[in-house]
Amino acid sequence: MPEMTTGQAIKEALSLCLDSNDTTFIAGEDIGVYGGAFGVTDGLLEKYGHERIKDTPISEDVIAGLAVGAAITGSKPIVEMQFSDFIVNAMDPIVNQAAKLHFMYGGAVNVPMIVRGASGAGTGAAAQHSQSLESWFCHVPGLKVVTPSNPQNAFDLLLASFVDPNPVIFMEHKLIYKLKSEVNLGPMPSDSSELGKSKVIQEGNDITVVSYSNMVNSVISAAKEDSLTDYSIEIIDLLTLAPMDSESVINSVEKTKRLLVCQEAPASSSVGSTLISEVVTSRAFKALNQSPELLAGLHSPMPSAKHLETTVIPQEEDIVQKIKEMIENEQ
């Protein structure tokens, strides 16, 4: 299996999408000769030409609206928001159009499209270029929301999103682009059944730690820390946020009796709050031996300075400490 970065894995997936369907095009800002602000589409223009790899003016509303119009007329568009923060300019086509047309028109149309975007903080890009806005889209019926965390699942999930007949918001955390690993470049799947499935990264019995996107990587590192070696930690990567695989988390919590959810986004009206709510309103409530915990980004815009940025985002050591606290709490 070839070794590659997440950025490259996404590019491989995009290539496969373009190969598998003539009506597929990619549109976005600086995705052509520039290769994308994060280099993800680098080389695709040379391979597929201007008809398929379409640089747009800086106009996010029409980039997304274009995808909706193309999707309902038999095409399979993939569009890019250079930083996912700019999706604020494309909320009408995504929320009022893409998400609703299938339902609103009584099932008469499907809207198979992908909106990809670079999300998250950690590069000092400050408040307007560092947001994790995935929670908003989970709140919108009709959308699916996917957040890969490494090269392999980015590849697999992008393909699954591609064959899904619904609009998918695909959020790529900036810090995963350069993560490297071997990737099994499988074929185009026949259906999108991979969406909506979380993954157990590591089995354990003392606590269930759930996360998604780049924060999963912090959790994995944290669990390897010396001070935690005595504990048996179950780690779950949600992968798809809408629909959310709460059922697997509920099963896990029934086993471990403890739940910690970690995310970069602030807590209020977020994925993490939802998961905790879904767990405690389920049969797992009885299994919990203590209050679940949510380790989330501070309720603050993202500062630019590095030492402040790390204050806002939960760090590995915060996760270690929280896991210790929770397990030792009731032993």
Partner: protein, 317 residues
């Protein structure tokens, strides 16, 4: 234009008028839930434009879309059923007045968001172009939509990418209560379109033949040049914006002037009579349309309610 053609234009305008009058009556009888936006007075634009298209040409429509929908070939029964929340409705009662789509006739759907369909029409046109389908997308929108950011982005891209879109601005002179002249800085909608390098023309939107001829010509030009075009179709709405409108922003003199001097149906009947079409022929059309409306309403009222399926499942394809 042949007489048959003209009678078809007449029939369609009348169908739209009577369809909406029937809705008004149903509304006043409390049969309809929700609001609606009537295009009474504007029938010539919808009719002339859609009848100039082929079935496979696509349209995108607006909150004031009953006329577009009918003119593009929709079944009034299914439309009434939709407004009544019945299973046979175009959207199975999920869409209502503002959200009727009729894909089989090339109607990509009405839209409750002002300017919401402009960027969609651009995407649809890109599909046609990429799939090498020789049709066009006709995008309807109002004068009020011209000031939304989406208008700007859509026209810019359609022009840059040479997409087969015919933008049709139905300038009924008001966006809800705001006179177009107070909303469009610079004063000219066509000049605005021209600034994107899009050829534009302003026409009498209450003259159904002028609309028909202009759209026919534009359609051919778009097909041959591959470039978008723009029509401003000047018209007037008689009814309030929606059901909550007290019409305080305009005078009844103004409304009456348009009703009496410029009504598209009256004018066209006058013209047909001048051209020696027999009163009987017009009468025949009228009877046919009235029957169609009456039967459609009746059937819709008797049709079964849309069942309470699992709406969460219905939200996804």
């Amino acid at each position: 234009m042949s007489k048959e053609n003209k009678l078809e234009l007449y029939r369609m305008m009348l169908l739209i008028r009577l369809f909406e009058e029937a809705l008004e009556e149903m509304f006043s009888r409390g049969l309809l839930h929700g609001t609606m936006h009537l295009s009474i007075g504007q029938e010539a634009t919808a009719t002339g434009a859609c009848l100039a298209l082929e079935k496979k040409d696509l349209i995108t429509s607006t909150h004031r879309g009953h006329g577009h929908c009918l003119a593009k070939g929709a079944d009034p029964y299914k439309m009434f059923a939709e407004l009544l929340g019945r299973e046979d409705g175009y959207c199975r009662g999920r869409g209502g007045s503002m959200h009727i789509a009729d894909l089989s006739n090339g109607n990509l759907g009405a839209n409750g968001i002002v300017a919401g369909s402009l960027t969609i029409s651009v995407g649809a046109a890109l599909s046609l172009k990429m799939q090498k389908i020789e049709n066009i997308v006709l995008c309807f929108f109002g004068d009020g939509a011209v000031n939304e950011g989406s208008f700007h982005e859509a026209l810019n891209l359609a022009s840059l990418w040479d997409l087969p879109v015919l933008f049709v601005c139905e300038n009924n002179q008001y966006g809800m209560s705001m006179a177009s002249e107070n909303a469009v800085a610079g004063g000219s909608i066509t000049q605005r379109a021209e600034s994107y390098g899009i050829k534009s023309v302003s026409i009498d939107g209450n003259d159904v033949e002028e609309v028909y001829e202009t759209v026919s010509k534009c359609k051919e030009k778009i097909k041959s040049s591959g470039k978008p075009m723009f029509i401003e179709s000047v018209t007037y709405r008689y009814r309030g914006h929606s059901k909550s409108d007290r019409n305080l922003y305009r005078t009844s003199d103004e409304i009456n002037f348009w009703k009496e001097e410029k009504d598209p149906l009256k004018r066209f009947i006058g013209k047909l009579t001048e051209e020696k079409v027999e009163i009987d022929e017009l009468k025949k059309v009228e009877v046919e349309v009235k029957n169609l409306i009456r039967e459609s309403v009746k059937k819709a009222l008797e049709s079964p309610e849309s069942p309470k399926t699992n709406l969460e499942e219905d939200s996804y394809a």
